[in-house]
Amino acid sequence: MKQLAWLIFALLLGLATSVSASERQPIIVWGLAPGPDSKGTDALVREFERRYPQYEVKLLSMGAGEMNPQKLLTSIVGGVPPDVIRQDRFSISDWASRGAFMPLDEFIARDRNEPNGVREEDYYDSTWQETIFDGKVYGVPMDADDRILYWNRRVFREKSDALRKAGLDPERPPRTWSEVLAYSEVLTEKNPDGTLKVAGYVPNYGNTWLYLYAFQMNASFLSEDGRTCTLYSPEAEEALQFMVDGYKLLGGYDNAKRFTDSFVGAENDPMINDRVAMKVDGDWILNTMSRYAPDLDFGVAPAPVPDDRYYRRGKFANEKDQFITWQGGFSYAIPTGAPNSEGAWQLIKFMSSTEGRMIEARAQAAWEVQRGREFIPRIKATRESNEQMFAEFRPKMPNYAAALQEHIRMSDYGRVRPPTMVGQLLWDEHVRAIEFACRGDKTPERALRDGQAVVQRELDSYYRFEKLPEADLRVPFALAGIALIGLTVAFWFRVRSMRLGRLARRETLWGFLLISPWILGFIVFTIGPMVASLVFSFTQYNVLSEARWVGLDNYQLLFGEEKDNVLKAFGNVMYLAGIGVPLGLITGLAIALILNTASRGIRTYRTIYYLPSIVPTIASSVLWAWILSPDSAKGLVNNLWTKTLAPWMGLTPPAWLTVADWSKPSLIIMGLWGAGGGMILWLAGLKGIPQSLYEAASIDGANPRRQFWNITMPMLSPILLFNTVMGVITVMQEFDRVYVFRGTSGSAGPSDSLLTPVLHLFVNAFNYFKMGYASALAWIVFAVILILTVLQLKLSKKWVYTESS
């Protein structure tokens, strides 16, 4: 042990000296991850550093900028935000409304006459409008992506006879929803076991979500004044119904998802490999396609629209635009409290200038050409840079040039998501609605209405906030502090009145001194936070602004409108506790029993069985995510399955973590791999049973089975109790694995099947900063664990053997 300590010490020393210091001011950028092919970004950043030698740019992805706001929010609240954040534009107003982003108007006004200055008139109007909240500008738009239909001519040609037979023209893509479904029906090919071989059209593969289809129906997601959420409308319902129908003819959402999820890596893109006939996607895919399949024979067209819209009839009779698209893109913003906002602004200015954009494009182009690939520029948010870029980098291959042209043409028919303070929630709920409806868990109307209710509640609470009584959080804490001091003083007087001898007094003093670390910790880290948590649970509190009293509203929510989610979360962990914990115990015990009878090799086997249980959770989650991959070409388990059970019994391999029915069993299987931890305890228990008991039983003529039930089990019962109680408590707080597996947004695992109470709490607390609601939930978790533990301990009196009795 001593050598080990020295080893660690030496290691620390060595590591500590390797840290280097830099004099340049850092500019920390989140949401831009440099990769092996991101030479444009590299060049842009290095050129900036050359021109502004006082700055050093640090690019980090941090999972930020995309759909996961947790990290950014905790860093802003914690006062250690990055300097620049690359943020999806639709959620800018969300952050701005909470005061999390800095308004850029002063910077813009100051530098607008510089050659690199940011000028509103240079930008496409829709992109600029998305960055404005309450009349202030909070971000500088980078790109302006839009979505069009890509169709694989090769697949169309191969199936031309079948298409003709169905009365469809194989020479042109579908233009309407009913056409796209008809084409998809003919082009889709299934394997004998029902899985997809070729998919005609997957409604949400590529990049459409519900937004595109709903925009095509002229649905809006918010009322004009931004106070009413209209996620549900007959138009949106029809759009969602189209998605449901599209999935139905592919054999269901899960079947399609298993298919599309299995193509990892850009070179395996199913469109390139003729596995998907049509998809609606953004201009970013052009670079990937040209990189991996420069000779792909594809065509483009505007995304198919509702039939009525195409034929201009019904409510679309007076519609101006026949085809439309959904526009999005990213912006750069500066979080409030950024330590280096001036440097951040300089960087943003440089990156969004035409010069900067051209430096990026040229470097990227040089890299691609060197690799023998064609560079296709992305569509930017300013007209000038687009014009220059297309003049310089017009694709040579005609179909790529046509695709780019179509993207640019459709930019004029772009629709954007409404700026709102609940943009993130609206997005998340809309994703959930898609999943619930397409999986058939809810009707489209129900799914949309449920999502709408959640968003509406958030909007209401935003607008009602000002009217709520202000909560001075210092008062309850002062009261708690006074109570604590009172208790201490009372205790002090009691001890004094006890008239202890000198020695006893000394012992008392030392006693308190010795336990003082715990007392301090108890006050600061346990009872204090508990009081705080209780107080928070009666407030609406987002940390960035002051708290307001809401009384029992949070608890009402838990047992009212949020009941389904809460029940689902507890139901999920109950499932894990009810099936996973006993299975784990039995596996551990079985190994221990066999190991206990072995005459040799015990140490080796013990090590081998124990090893998986010390593999860090995150590492084993990453590993098992791959082992349980639904794609049988990739996942170990399904590979074996397709070679054995599939031909033997005709069973389709399950899609494990990607379908609701199998996601929890996947966690249980993962858990069984770690059953060796429990095994060690069983083994110790078995060794502790006196051999004389067995000898006596043998003499009495008890067979091994009787011996097991009448000696081994009673003697092991305290360990069984310990393992059960600890196992249940651990499972009730399941977080790490479900966090890794849940995906980035929308539901927690397929159909919320991986939603656990602690994950629900975490998301509410750190994604939406609903501290009040999360605190109330924490108390429910506490109550449930308390009840379960007390129940187990009470019941244990009946079956646990104690030596005294």
Binding site: V264, I515, S533, V615, P616, M726
Partner: protein, 574 residues
């Protein structure tokens, strides 16, 4: 339903048949190798019985579940709600208790058995009711393993050989122990292999090329690497040079003058894009790694290496003759070339994975450093504070001790979730966000479970020891440190091991508190890596392997403490 039931019976019969067949062979081998006549007759009789049972079993299998195929193994699997299984178990319990109640001797015993049977029956009834509510309460998946005559023969031979060997080994009563020993070893070995497969898969995947992981040819256990040859490409010269104190690979950006050139860094990845001036002498020209391909060269299969990929979808290749360039160059479409790959490991995944990390991560060493700091400080803090507090609670008498200790016990049931949010706000007010402080400082304030565990160990030490120390003039601290601490070493190991694993595994903490690379521990870094590099599983698995290796190494060095510690904690939970 009836056909399903019959099929299930047939399947069970089939497998029972195999068991009895093995048993028959075992008995025959035993008979042949035995000497005494009495033993022989008994063995022979049971061999005969087993054969009859085997024949009946196979007969049932073939007639009920054979589906007309003689050489096939029938399979059946009931697919039902988990509670369906509970129903089955509860029914077994009911029947067991019912039978026991019949054979019970005393009235009281009978009564308790009947109560037990009724409880199980109630559970069974409830789960049956629950299962029948669903749409598809029960389906029986059925099928066959079709065996070729050869496969059937080899399984049979293997079975006969094993059973015969065991029969021979276990020919005497004493040596039947040996049979049991051998089968135990076999079971343990099979189980151990199963438990090791994920590790093996991790290692193999971590040295695969990406194309082998998600390719169309399916999963393979033998990694292959693409062959390359060194080639000096004058259109795209590569250099090795010193930049900011480290060796980098760089491409030529432009020639400044006769003396100097400007280079653009390519590798390591986290320095990529930097442009720097350097004198020509200091930059060493290095060859590109040109991929070797096989192709059709005027009707003859040949190998060549790719000089350059051209933007029009073709590549310029030079033919290779037994590994040497021939100077014959031509341009061919990319689709007509096939990469030459040989069996081998792509170890480069490991350095590549680390080079991807931002420069602050210092090739992952920063993560390791942070994790080690976190773990060491947590272990020290926990050991110190918990043993002091446990000492206070167990060996000293003072007013309020019992009350305070029951409060401590009560906090064991408090889930971390309750205090999570307020603690975040407390640490925020300390200005500790984006540091490791919130992760280890609390360990210096004792945790309930460890105090409880240590206290029960302290209590077992006889008071005489302490009294002797007191007489010698030791103060409380001295007694604690020199007399009591050495006595509870095993318990301290337990606490150290649990704290170590807990700190190494901690993910939620860093997820909330740590933002910058400088403070990031391994667990969180791995999760971020997973998000960024999902498309490059080779690198991801290499990084995963690297994150596991330190724990396994430490385990290898201190296995005894781990396992002893873990064992003790179970007993401490009594």
């Amino acid at each position: 339903m009836t056909s399903n039931l019959l099929f299930a019976i047939g399947t069970i019969g089939h497998f029972v048949g195999w068991v009895f067949l093995a048993s028959a062979i075992f008995q025959i081998a035993r008979t042949l190798s035995r000497s005494g006549d009495t033993g022989r007759t008994a063995s022979l009789r049971s061999a005969f019985g087993s054969t009859i049972f085997a024949l009946v079993g196979f007969g049932l299998g073939i007639t009920l579940a054979g589906d007309g195929k003689a050489l096939s193994v029938p399979l059946a699997w009931p697919d039902m709600h988990p509670l369906g299984w509970l129903f089955g178990l509860a029914m077994i319990g009911t029947v067991t208790f019912a039978l026991q109640s019949i054979s019970a001797i005393t009235v009281a015993e009978r009564k308790s058995k009947i109560v037990g049977a009724l409880i199980f029956l109630a559970i069974a009834a409830f789960s049956l009711w629950w299962v029948m509510r669903g749409d598809n309460p029960f389906t029986l998946h059925r099928g066959h393993i079709d065996l070729s005559a050869g496969a059937f023969g080899s399984i049979l031979t293997l079975l006969i050989a094993t059973a015969a060997l065991m029969g021979w080994v276990g020919r005497s009563a004493e040596s039947s122990e040996r049979v049991r020993g051998v089968s135990t070893q076999l079971t343990l070995f099979a189980g151990a292999a199963l438990f090791m497969i994920p590790f093996a898969w991790l290692m193999v995947t971590s040295v695969k090329e990406d194309r082998d992981i998600a390719g169309t040819d399916g999963l393979n256990w033998v990694p292959k690497v693409s062959q390359t040859v060194p080639y000096f490409n004058d259109n795209n010269p590569l250099f090795e040079a010193q930049f900011r104190g480290r060796t980098v690979q760089a491409a030529l950006e432009r020639v400044v003058d006769a003396e100097q050139i400007e280079l653009r860094v390519l590798k390591p990845m986290n320095q990529s894009g930097y442009i720097f001036k350097i004198s020509k002498n200091e930059a060493k020209r290095i060859p590109n790694e040109a991929p070797v391909v096989s192709l059709d060269w005027d009707g003859v299969a040949a190998t060549a290496f790719v000089q350059e990929d051209l933007p029009d979808g073709t590549r310029r290749v030079e033919r290779l003759e037994s590994g040497k360039p021939t100077g014959e160059v031509r341009t061919v479409p990319r689709a007509e070339t096939e990469a030459v790959r040989t069996v081998g490991a792509r170890w480069r995944n490991y350095p590549d994975a680390l080079e991807f990390l931002p420069p602050e991560a210092n090739m992952g060493l920063t993560y390791l450093k942070n994790t080690v700091i976190l773990v060491v400080l947590s272990v020290i803090g926990t050991l110190l504070s918990c043993s002091l507090v446990a000492y206070g609670f167990s060996r000293l008498r003072f007013p309020g001790r019992e009350t305070l200790f029951s409060i401590l016990l009560a906090t064991m049931m408090l889930p971390a979730a309750v205090t999570l949010l307020p603690q975040f706000l407390i640490f925020r007010s300390f200005g500790w966000i984006d540091s490791l402080l919130p992760l280890w400082v609390p360990t210096f304030f004792a945790s309930a479970f460890n105090v409880f565990l240590l206290r029960s160990f302290f209590q077992q030490i006889p008071f005489e020891l302490e009294d002797a120390a007191k007489i010698d003039g030791c103060g409380y601290l001295r007694t604690f440190w020199s007399v009591l601490m050495p006595q509870v070493k095993p318990a301290l190991t337990v606490v150290a091991v649990w704290t170590f694993l807990g700190a190494w595994n901690n993910f939620l903490g860093p997820l909330i508190y740590v933002n910058s690379q400088e403070n990031m521990p391994i667990a969180y870094a791995l999760q971020l890596f997973m998000g960024e590099r999902a498309g490059e599983p080779g690198l991801l698995m290499a990084f995963t392997a690297l994150s596991i290796i330190p724990v396994l190494l430490l385990f290898a060095f201190s296995q005894r403490y781990f396992i002893e510690g873990m064992s003790l904690s179970g007993l401490g939970g009594r």
